[in-house]
């Protein structure tokens, strides 16, 4: 499954590809910038089987570009090994991970 984006009202849903890394940086930035501050982001990780540190950087920058502490970002459908990487990076303290 490739990178896909849909928007419904103030909610942007991004379905991330199997490999979430530097190769989608440009698509990810395009999909996540230029929205109003009330926008919420739902990041669907169901297809993600590999992720690198540049993806973690993208998530942090999304958090800042969409309101920092007040950003409304949900990371969902995460496979156990990817969840482990998010935890190693201490991201469970910064993001809602379902």
């Amino acid at each position: 499954m490739a990178f896909s984006v849909s928007k419904e009202g103030d909610r942007v849903t991004i379905r991330l590809p199997e490999v979430f890394g530097f190769s989608v940086r440009s698509d990810f930035k395009k999909a996540t910038t230029g929205h109003s501050t009330s926008t919420s982001f739902f990041l669907d990780f169901r297809d993600v089987t590999r992720m690198d540190s540049s993806a973690l950087g993208m998530l942090l920058l999304l958090r800042e570009t969409s309101g920092g502490f007040y950003a409304d970002i949900t990371i969902a459908n995460v496979r156990p090994d990817i969840r482990k990487l998010l935890q190693l990076a201490n991201f469970h303290t910064l993001f809602k991970i379902q």
Partner: protein
Amino acid sequence: MTEQECYMPEKFILQHPAIDMQHEVLFVLYNELLHTLQSCEDEYDLADIFLGLNVYVVSHFQFEEDAMLASGYDEREKHMEGHSQLRLGVGALHARFLAASSREEAREVAQAIADFLLEWLENHIAKVDRRLTQYLLEQSVQ
């Protein structure tokens, strides 16, 4: 993990999965800073990168400080002084960045932050964090 551009020089790998991962993310943000300073395509706002760096530095330091406390590490105070130095240094430069009166000045301060950050990361990871991770690994603290 994927095959990727190398963000963190291999000499900084300390064999502690969480601390290595967090250092790597700091290098990714450092690279985003350089990317923006070099005006590549698709750059983020410098202001957002600084906020991201601040947030993540705090989160990472908290992680290490919790691990030091939990494991009874006796160099904790000294280690935390090193963390304060970075927080203060970046905080002062960040304030200068916010007060910059021109785009040119803002970019100069951003470059100074990038240089300061790289130097600090290199010294701190190579020496101070290396001692800590060796201790944590001996204590089996992941």
